[in-house]
């Protein structure tokens, strides 16, 4: 099997969209996971629900909401355009945003479980040894919740690679900008002689997803000695 230059363009774009989407989501997802795991404040349930919304909404609806908010006339999109001259519509950056929003709930869930599993008494022990709350977080809570961070990253990456509905309704299907793997496969399926393309890109999808899973397993194992709780 040889990949054509067009195939490579799709793969490169998909990886770029997924990596950028996940990397930018990571700190947001961790902060949300931490707040949801530890915080006790009014509105927590509502925040929890909003974070999970992309998981249960039809992706097309999520894409449409992004279109309303981030379109050139939208409240956020208009502001980005005026202040920074940035536009997300029909750009790969918009595809990355769609991927990020769809990946967010999965990433938050994985990280939150991991943060909840950290024994808070260990933080108390750190405090009694002279650590400030921030140092206790950095040296105890954060490293002990890393397995969930890795799991969240991989889940988010896999979800981003597979993102279809929100992406196509938000930023459409533009070769080189927003035509990621699933959208390219969908496009090829519409072509009378697209079977070869579909086969090649499907194999690539399987390989990338497997690779991500194996990489995460390796990461977790590599730090397994440190990650295991007593």
């Amino acid at each position: 099997m040889t990949l054509t230059p067009d195939d490579w363009e799709v793969i490169r774009l998909s990886l770029k969209v997924a990596v950028v989407g996940v990397v930018f989501t990571l700190p947001v997802a961790f902060a949300l996971a931490y707040v949801l795991a530890r915080g006790r404040f009014p509105g927590r349930i509502l925040l929890d629900a909003v974070v999970h919304l992309p998981l249960v909404l039809p992706p097309v609806v999520t894409g449409w909401i992004l279109l309303i908010l981030f379109g050139r006339a939208g409240p956020i999109g208009g502001w980005l355009d005026r202040v920074f001259g940035v536009t997300l519509m029909f750009r790969w950056t918009g595809a990355a945003l769609a991927a990020a929003v769809m990946a967010l709930p999965l990433m938050v869930r994985a990280m939150r479980l991991s943060i909840e599993a950290v024994d808070r008494r260990l933080e108390g022990a750190a405090r009694s040894l002279g650590a400030s709350p921030w140092r206790a977080f950095r040296t105890i809570t954060l490293p002990l919740s890393l397995p969930g961070v890795w799991a969240g990253l991989v889940l988010g990456f896999a979800r981003s690679l597979g993102e279809f509905g929100a992406t196509i309704s938000f930023v459409s299907n533009i070769p080189g900008q927003t035509r990621t793997l699933p959208i390219a496969i969908y496009t090829a399926l519409q072509l009378p002689d697209g079977d070869d393309i579909v086969l090649r890109l499907a194999i690539v999808s399987v390989a990338l997803s497997l690779g991500a899973l194996i990489a995460s397993e390796w990461l977790v194992r590599r730090q397994g000695e440190r990650a295991h709780v007593l």
Partner: protein
């Protein structure tokens, strides 16, 4: 006065109230399980806020009279019942976690010699036996250069021989470092052997 404690706290159905002063080297809090002994230690360490009261150790006010020092400012050497070592750090890093650079502070070398930790430094906590983990926990507390020690049933999970070994270590710490020690136990023999003053806690 080493310890001046007068606190009360409602925890669910239970009301914990205790009042004592002690100038002994080792003061024992003696009472049955569930009588709130650990909660009293947590209040002295600053990990649990009393509803009201006053806590001073060695003449230094830790809580009360609108003072409420955070745990990191109380200079407590807290040895927990379960050791509570950091599972992601090797023994050496656990020992050094709260280590003080202050002039005259006890050094890693001294603690390792005192507690016989030399062979354990590169081990992970989960590979330690109960007695080894407890020794590391005591060493970690000592290295944070505490002004006093809080020991919460440090022998509870150990068999007789290990318990005796740790008890000897604690006596060594008591006699070598002259730190005020508050020792929680429900075992009469331990208390009689170690403590100069016994405070009985009732349910």
């Amino acid at each position: 006065m080493s310890f001046e404690v007068e606190v009360s706290k409602r925890l669910g159905e239970a009301e914990i109230a205790v009042s004592f002063e002690s100038d002994a080297g080792v003061t024992a809090l003696f009472g049955p399980s569930g009588s709130g002994k650990s909660s009293i230690l947590n209040m002295i360490a600053g990990l649990l806020a009393p509803d009201r009261g006053r806590i001073a150790v060695g003449g230094r006010l830790l809580f009360g009279e609108s003072v409420n020092l955070p745990p990191e400012a109380r200079d407590a050497g807290y040895v927990f019942q379960d050791g509570r070592l950091f599972p992601h750090l090797r023994v050496r890093a656990n020992l050094l976690y709260g280590a003080s650079e202050r002039e005259g502070a006890i050094t890693l070398r001294e603690v390792v010699d005192l507690l016989g930790l030399g062979a354990l430094l590169n081990r992970w906590p989960r590979t330690l036996s109960g007695g080894e983990a407890q020794r590391v926990a005591i060493g970690r507390a000592l290295l944070s250069n505490p002004r006093f020690l809080l020991l919460d049933e440090p022998l509870a999970s150990l068999d007789r021989a290990r318990a005796d070994e740790i008890l000897t270590m604690i006596e060594r710490v008591r006699d070598a470092l002259k730190l005020p020690i508050l020792y929680v136990s429900h075992n009469r023999a331990e208390v009689d052997r170690l403590a100069g003053r016994v405070v009985a806690i009732h349910r």
